[in-house]
Symmetry: C2
Subunit: 313 residues, 2 copies
């Protein structure tokens, strides 16, 4: 019985999904791991996988494809770029997995790209051959699908839509060192900052904010009629719509999917986002659909499994 | 003997290229035509094609593919959109061609997209699977190739890079009705206007300019050390590099090709354009090549022939 694994690779744990080749998720399990840089850590991964497989009467020989999604660039040829946020030896891990899973095609996929592929396989983008997933989380990632295939990019920067410049005169620097990137306004951090700035410039006391990415409180305030929350969310929608209008001038997708933590409030800001897109985009592209992603934080796990399965052919 | 036709469809004439399936151009001929909207006009086209074929001992039955490039949007499914600049009945013309060339696959391709495909088939982008051709002419068109395939777009706006917004506070409206499109600065018209504005704001008498798209005189002045020409060309390079840096955040191509009339001066402005791109783009994409297109105004004729041949399979 053929099985497929999708593995979310994180800094302190991995999240494993066991799938059928048709995209049914049989089980999801979190396996705590040390830094994935030596044989002891790789062994902890394969032992964890063994337990997941055994729980479903499967053996390593049943696994035909194994995808790994990672928070960093992966180029068209599968090469893994610089990973600032996790400790990982990609070749070592793939070597250990290939040894443990002898029938398996293994592939790395960037996490936002993987999320897009997940939506293509089993989510909101099923049967849509060209779309862009915008994942609005701590940062802003994106996955670009054209002709049913992910665009990873010649240097792994395909879908780096969080770094589209939307405001050239921004004094603050983005994490990438440049100024005025979409991520500075449409990430969770960005929305909270826009809200606090709106309050400060108007001399208004903000609602209680738990932490730097607490957009729940901002969207909650918006629903209570908070004027500063309205201003902040309007600004976010303006910059997001501007970036989407640029993307449409390049690849003109049929669909945008909004995901990530901020995407959880999609119903609240969707009318404003759609309105702003229609004001800013080329009229030719006005028929594009703008919808919510549907697989939440499982999307990347689905998508890397799908990509490994696809590469197997 | 298999032959392929590439036809540039213009307002008052068509330009026909007769090719081998390997991409060798056997002959190029211009055929004056009335508006392509009735049987009389279509007959003038097929008679002209007959003469081109006869000159190379070929008959209509030898033609296996015929591409038509047109100055307007063509969607992923081959549908022709609104054509403001020519009078053409697309279905009628295809019907007449299909009747005259019974073995032939016929396809419409947008002109900038066709130019990109031409460079892929027989020009500077041979063997490059992801690149963007930027055609800087009266307007700015572009053709986007990803995974060796043209990205026409869900609504035919793939490669509308001339309408990437590079300056939101531009008071002048672009032809599309929006403000601050790349085309307003990097087209031939744009470069001439930037030069005349630089002269006016500095109270300097400009060099003689023949017409609204006479960039030759501007680049000539630049080579003579004209300070206002330097300012104008720097501005053009700044906006062009900014738009390219946005494109790289979406599809991250391996190569940019600069073509069109303004592209004729590529050697003059290339150092500044490359420098500005490196200042503005994500460092991840810094390895992208920025080169001149090589097929000039034959590129689209090559490219539509290639696309029709490809669709034939």
């Amino acid at each position: 019985m053929d099985r497929v694994l999708g593995i979310d690779v994180g800094g302190t744990s991995i999240k494993v999904g066991l799938f059928t080749p048709e995209g049914e998720l049989l089980e999801e399990r979190k396996i705590p791991t040390p830094a994935l840089v030596d044989e002891a850590a790789f062994a902890q991964v394969t032992e964890g996988l063994g337990r997941v497989l055994a729980a479903h009467d499967a053996t390593p020989a049943d696994v035909v494809a194994c995808g790994l999604d990672i928070p960093g660039p992966v180029a068209d040829d599968g090469t893994v770029g610089f990973l600032p946020n996790i400790q990982l030896d990609p070749e070592g891990l793939v070597g250990a997995l290939s040894h443990y899973l002898p029938q398996t095609t293994t592939a790395f996929v960037n996490d936002a790209n993987a999320a897009a592929l997940g939506e293509l396989w089993a989510g909101s983008a099923r049967d849509v051959s060209s779309f862009v997933l915008l994942a609005l989380g701590t940062g802003v990632g994106a996955g670009v699908v054209v002709g049913g295939r992910l665009v990873a990019g010649a240097f792994g920067a395909g879908g780096e839509a969080g770094h589209i410049t939307v405001r050239r005169d921004e004094p603050r620097a983005c994490g990438c060192g440049r100024h005025g990137c979409l991520e500075q306004y449409a990430s969770a951090t960005g929305v909270v900052r826009l809200y606090l700035e709106a309050c400060e410039s108007r001399g208004v006391t903000p609602v209680h904010i738990e932490h730097a990415t607490d957009t729940l409180s901002v969207f909650g305030a918006l629903e209570q009629g908070d004027e500063c929350a309205r201003i902040a969310v309007d600004q976010m929608c303006d910059y997001l719509a501007l970036a989407m209008s640029q993307i449409s001038c390049v690849i003109d997708p049929a669909l945008y999917l909004i995901g990530g933590g901020v995407g959880g409030a999609f119903a609240t800001f969707a009318p404003r986002l759609r309105e702003r897109f229609h004001e800013l985009a080329l009229p030719t592209c006005a028929g594009v659909r703008i919808e919510a992603a549907s697989l939440g934080n499982q999307a990347a796990m689905y998508g890397c499994a799908y990509e490994a399965l696809r590469l197997r052919g």
